[in-house]
Symmetry: none
Subunit: 571 residues, 2 copies
């Protein structure tokens, strides 16, 4: 695609996946890394690679001779050499060596972002002394983070200073490293956004994802993040502005803290592909690795090329870390291979406990389905979660309710229980309770308002007489509300029907037939099916069975004759 050769400083898994993306476009790559068996070198036999360290000026010079464009898969490179080489040889380097230099020193990175009005955690450079750290404690309060300014990754350069007594331990842990302190961010979630910048300065953001860490190492990534639309957009904007403030082209990973008040702070930026972006290989239009190659070689970067593959795409990325027993992590991979829509990526590294050996991308049309698959892969259940085929017990009755069934009075229960039976039969997690519009108006308001937050997708409300419950709940929640008119002692239920169905413009209630909570439940399942293929396909089977049952009866009626049939007919 492009006759330029790309030199990569670093030959680990990120380099490997850059090489893979480049090869699909016939773009030549050369690797600088120690050893001939580095993951990135394993998959490129076209060139003689450079054997050496990305911190060694001579090795970098050797790489420069073999390529037209240089890039990095790790920021801890010798940036002085890069700057010199760029000046002397005219080799293009992306991202800009100045950017790499700023970012690889986390304190300079924070200062730069602050100067550019990008929200970051408050931080200060500190000396390697007890008194200096005590002063930080007095200023920031405890706990605070003590971090190495350089060479820190996967939490290995961080220490949480809980109180004055732990200062000594902190200094011991980080001894002889250049330090800075960060005020504690009481975050509720960690989110991240991949951002790619073209050579002419255009910036494109990937979706906002949620990262979960275990022992300071990324464990899983949820895409998109389970936060509201505003937070998603805000995080993309913050990441966009952060990357916009640096020069040069390429992909960047922006990690952020989400605070309880909805505020977002940049935690760290990586000037390269990032673990939180591995999900893009399967869940986005273009992978972070191809995006990086496009950016640094000047290939087209069309609008939306960083989007999720479809609006329904959901994904979970799971890191495969070296197990305690050699190759024990392969058990995880085997379970992933047994799971439909889970893709395994191993990096060709020798196994070592805690080492990043590979990752698994799970893709589905709902995050719930992804989580069911994750449960199987991580061995929390032995029930395999096969895409649309997964059965009800996998969906799990014990799980968080998706449908709320409420009624104005316990006298409605005989009618409403029929709908509950249907939900049970389909395996839909649901809850049942009494909420009366007229007798418990405040409880009703609380129920309606909190329903979406609690994960409910639909509310079924049954009521009789001057049936206000469905309409009032609909007035206080943006969820779809299904109304079941319950037949009272007079008027044959027409009073309930009209009270529920004849809502004013602005507040819809999905009304079903009088006393027909069965249909209310079926409608709720159809609604779930619009976003989760599991429920969609169960509804398809239900409809087919219903057809089959009638056909069996038709056959019986045809063969036995109508008189015989009638004589045995049970109403």
């Amino acid at each position: 695609m492009d006759s330029q050769t790309v030199g990569i400083l670093g030959g680990g898994q990120l380099g490997r996946m850059i090489v893979e993306a480049a090869q699909r476009l016939n773009i030549n790559t050369v690797i600088l890394e120690e050893g001939e068996q580095a993951p990135a070198k394993q998959i490129n036999a076209l060139n003689k690679h450079v054997n050496g360290s990305f911190k060694d000026p001579n090795a970098i010079r050797e790489l420069a001779k073999k390529c037209d464009i240089m890039t990095i898969e790790i920021e801890h490179v010798d940036t002085d050499s890069l700057k010199l080489i760029q000046k002397e040889t005219g080799v293009k380097i992306y991202p800009d060596p100045d950017t790499i230099e700023l970012i690889k020193d986390k304190y300079l990175q924070k200062k730069h972002l602050k100067k550019n009005e990008v929200a970051v955690t408050q931080s200060i450079a500190v000396e390697n002394s007890i008194s200096a750290l005590e002063a930080v404690g007095d200023d920031f309060g405890f706990p605070f983070m003590l971090k190495s300014r350089t060479m820190a990754y996967d939490g290995r350069g961080n220490f949480v200073v809980k109180d004055k007594t732990s200062i000594k331990e902190a200094l011991e842990f980080l001894k002889e490293r250049p330090l800075y302190a960060e005020k504690w961010a009481p975050f509720t979630k960690e989110v991240a956004v991949m951002v790619v910048r073209s050579r002419d300065g255009n910036v494109y953001t990937y979706p906002t994802v949620e990262t979960k860490h275990v022992n300071n190492i990324c464990h899983t990534v949820y895409a998109p993040a389970r936060v509201n639309d505003t937070i998603q957009k805000k995080a993309q904007l913050l990441a966009h502005n952060a990357v916009k403030s640096f020069s040069g082209a390429g992909i960047f990973g922006v990690e952020m803290f989400l605070l309880p008040n909805g505020e977002l702070l940049v935690n760290e930026i990586a000037p390269r592909p990032h673990n939180s972006g591995h999900y893009t290989i399967d869940a986005c239009v273009t992978s972070q690795f191809e995006a990086h190659i496009r950016a640094i070689t000047g290939l087209p970067m069309p609008k939306n090329f960083t989007s999720l593959s479809t609006p329904q795409t959901h994904a979970i990325m799971l890191n495969v870390l070296g197990a305690q027993e050699a190759n024990g992590e392969l058990q995880l991979c085997k379970r992933a291979l047994e799971t439909v829509n889970a893709s395994v990526y191993l990096y060709g590294k020798s196994t070592r406990p805690g080492r990043k050996m590979g990752h698994i991308n799970i893709v589905s049309q709902s995050i719930e389905e992804c989580e069911r698959k994750l449960d199987y892969i991580e061995g929390r259940t032995d029930k395999i979660a096969q895409s649309v085929e997964s059965d009800a017990s996998v969906a799990g009755i014990s799980k968080q309710p998706l449908v709320g069934v409420i009624m104005g009075s316990d006298s409605d229960l005989p009618v409403m229980s029929q709908g509950c039976n249907i939900l049970k039969q389909f395996g839909v997690p649901f809850e049942v309770t009494i909420v009366s519009a007229h007798r418990t108006p405040h409880r009703m308001a609380k129920y309606a308002i909190e329903a979406p937050k609690r994960g409910l997708k639909t509310i079924i409300a049954g009521a009789g007489g001057a049936a206000h419950l469905p309409g009032m709940v609909a007035a206080m929640t943006p969820l779809p509300v299904i109304g079941v008119p319950v037949k009272g002692s007079t008027l044959d239920g027409v009073d309930s029907l009209h009270s529920i169905v004849q809502m004013p413009r602005g507040v819809p209630v999905a009304t079903v037939a009088i006393n027909n909570s069965t249909n209310a439940a079926l409608l709720a399942i159809r609604i779930l099916g619009t976003s989760d293929a599991h429920w969609f396909s169960k509804m398809e089977s239900y409809m087919t069975n219903m057809e089959d049952e009638v056909l069996v009866k038709a056959d019986k009626l045809e063969t036995s004759g109508y008189e015989q049939y009638l004589s045995t007919y049970k109403k």
Copy 2:
């Protein structure tokens, strides 16, 4: 993933893509092919590959020493050697050498299939003489196909014998090759199915696709094929039975003719990955290459791992052939890179006119969208087709309709248009049309059945009088259906309301108030909001605004007094 090494006979693009799939699973591969720069060798630096021909017994023996399992990317190999080596060394060979031997001679292949009751074109072995071909013409009629039994691919061993006078030319074209003749199949489409067979004999079929050839070379592949469900299933079944009849594990490509009467005939089988399966890389749960690796190494092959990624997935594969001017084909690739959801795969081959240099996979939620992108890539339009899906994840709005608004008669439009206005106001992509239960029953069935496949999430149906439309549509789709009772000239709309709401158990219709299509639209948006935060938050804002508007009025009423307010009140 697996410590066995896989040896591959052949190092072209199919071998390259097998290697790529194997590497992601840490499975080692060694290639037998002439030259050090073969596409498959370029991307594997871990081993010293074998330099030689896959027809050379010595070279095959050398490969056997380096691996535990042998496989092929081309069937024109020395099968006698394979059989001997398998006996002598215990190296496992997939597919079975007997299978390769049967398939590589197309006439033996046909005979085998016929014997196993797999429908094939009628064929006969012929001598290389005018009189023999005249006899075939008398028997089969003209035109008929004259084909080389061996070493024929991309149409290079085929000749259409139009009439008696062209027999001489046919023999000249195929001189000195072993020949057979095939009766002409007056096909309307060519379809194909990839089939994968596990080592224990289980057979899994990929979806049925449609292949389009230009100058006897595959030009595009449409997935799934644009044929009805029955034909799709029949083709999968035929391919399943064909592959079932052979022994050994691995992936097979089955090409078929679709005749005007709906009959299907197997045209050719390839015992390896196939050009018609390249779409699987982006459009299926598992690519044909990974499926092959799983099959021959004994890795898990879960149910449905050969399905389309989602029920909505559609794809077109476009081959990139060497252009007349050197590298002219890169223009095609550049346009693909400008197109969202089009992925480029180049094979690292030197350019030559007509040579398969790479392929492009276009994936979308409808075949029409794929075709629009194809039109741009092939230069038939300069209007770029940005993915409609992707717009959604960025702006929350996709152009593909999510809601279908239908009505029994154009007289319902004044009522139904109010709902359309709401959808427009919210920016929901929707479609509007007339579908009458009583006057266009078949159109209604088609609409209801195809709605989910077309990406619709909800259907709003308006009808008056004996209003059957909402209920009938609900009976034929698992999507939620919202019914709007339209008021007729008598009975004040109560007839419509009861016809729509009083559905039998089993088939729910979400009924709204008489003439209130506004609420139907708002309900549809609430349903979309259960899975897409964008619509949820828009509904939240709408409800807040509605509250604000009333509060403004209340304030005005309180300050101006009720008499003054009434005097300016516009109904």
